[in-house]
Symmetry: C2
Subunit: 244 residues, 2 copies
């Protein structure tokens, strides 16, 4: 809500100038990655228009790779493209927030369960690495880092669960919802209780012990806790902005 969105034409030199030679197949990928980050970190405000030629000049390439990146982003629902008309950054679906966190919670549970069942040797190392990063982010009170590292943590768990379909869906949820998660974290004033870190530790322990029931219980607790907080957030939110 208190977001400044400079989408202005060519201004700072941070990252628009790429006149230097880039590898052949990587144009669209580069644009895709950067735009995705800008959208998910709310640096591109929801609803703001996206101009292909502007992006083309900004990235110093033709409209074609830009277009490919936009098609991919549209496929993930991050931008919306009116036929023959402007394309814009998708709005955050506040009404679907409950549904979103319901799905997210279910994925927490399912992936944690499966990880407890199917994890193999190196999986726990990977999970622990991400947990350490998450812990550091929480201690540093860096909301963006918390979201990213939390997503990585759970993505690692999902990978250990050995189900590509859940993993892909989960990663997509974690990505697509980064903007909603941003609001969620803001409901804690970006200072996450250390309890969250502890819960992660318990989850790791349950997975390591291959205790499926404990894993499920923890995943469910994690999820229900989020649910409750979202409930608080939504009621508060409904009062603040009467949306449209």
């Amino acid at each position: 809500m208190t977001d400044k969105n400079f989408v202005g034409a060519g201004m700072d030199d941070s990252n628009q100038n790429h006149a230097l030679e880039r590898k052949r197949g990587s144009g669209a990928r580069q644009v895709y990655d950067l735009l995705r980050d800008e959208i998910l970190d709310l640096r591109l405000a929801p609803g703001s228009a996206i101009d292909e030629v502007q992006l083309a000049t900004r990235f110093g390439m033709s409209r074609t790779p830009i277009r490919e990146a936009l098609v991919r982003l549209a496929g993930e629902g991050l931008i919306e493209t009116l036929p023959n008309r402007s394309t814009m950054v998708s709005n955050i679906d506040f009404l679907g927030m409950h549904a979103y966190f319901d799905a997210l919670g279910l994925m927490y549970r399912v992936t944690t369960r499966l990880a407890a069942q199917h994890h193999k040797a190196g999986d726990l190392d990977s999970i622990r690495v991400h947990q350490a990063e998450f812990k550091a982010a929480v201690e540093a009170q860096d909301a963006l880092a918390m979201i990213a590292t939390n997503a990585d943590f759970h993505a690692a768990i999902a990978a250990a669960g050995r189900n590509e379909y859940y993993a892909r869906f989960f990663e997509r949820l974690l990505g697509e919802g980064r903007r909603m998660l941003r609001l969620y974290y803001q409901s804690y004033d970006d200072r996450l209780p250390s309890r969250f870190v502890d819960e992660h530790e318990e989850i790791i322990a349950a997975i390591e012990a291959r205790d499926v029931e404990a894993a499920d219980r923890l995943g469910r607790a994690h999820s229900e806790q989020i649910e409750a907080q979202i409930e608080r957030l939504l009621t508060r939110h409904d009062r603040l902005d009467i949306v449209l």
Copy 2:
């Protein structure tokens, strides 16, 4: 390059000639829809190469809209594109079959539950229409129609559940897995027991009665039955082709 347009050298005249005027924004959509269908109905064999120029001449349009369609298909995992090299129809992931049906079964349960909770006035009508079509397809022993109408039936239930995220994931699973489902149905020799139709009826009844527990139980039964059949299918399959 120069135009190499041999009249007789192409394939048959079934549906490649679209020199007639088409609406402006619909080129890619048209290609996407048709290619998707051809892939999912196994008319395009997994692993077979996809040539952009060939498609361009076949559809009578430039490579640009073809390319957009391919990007979208790749985003859904239906084709795989090696950088700077050929793109090909994705292989069916037999190893992930168990994972696939696990996810599918969970979605059966979740969406049925939610439909029992949240369905509104017109939802049941839509569901019943699709159920009637499914029944007709089963009686006609038309496997492709069974897959399509079954997908529509469950998609309608998912829509009644009022959770966009589950619905999208579910639809994606049902679409993406049409090829696997084809095999699954073939394990019944494309003659589905009428019990499947009856199960659908029970599901409808549970939803209408808003009996969440019954809905969940039925969804679970549906899912477990699939699971069992897949188990039989897989063991039989593992014995027949030693993959690779």
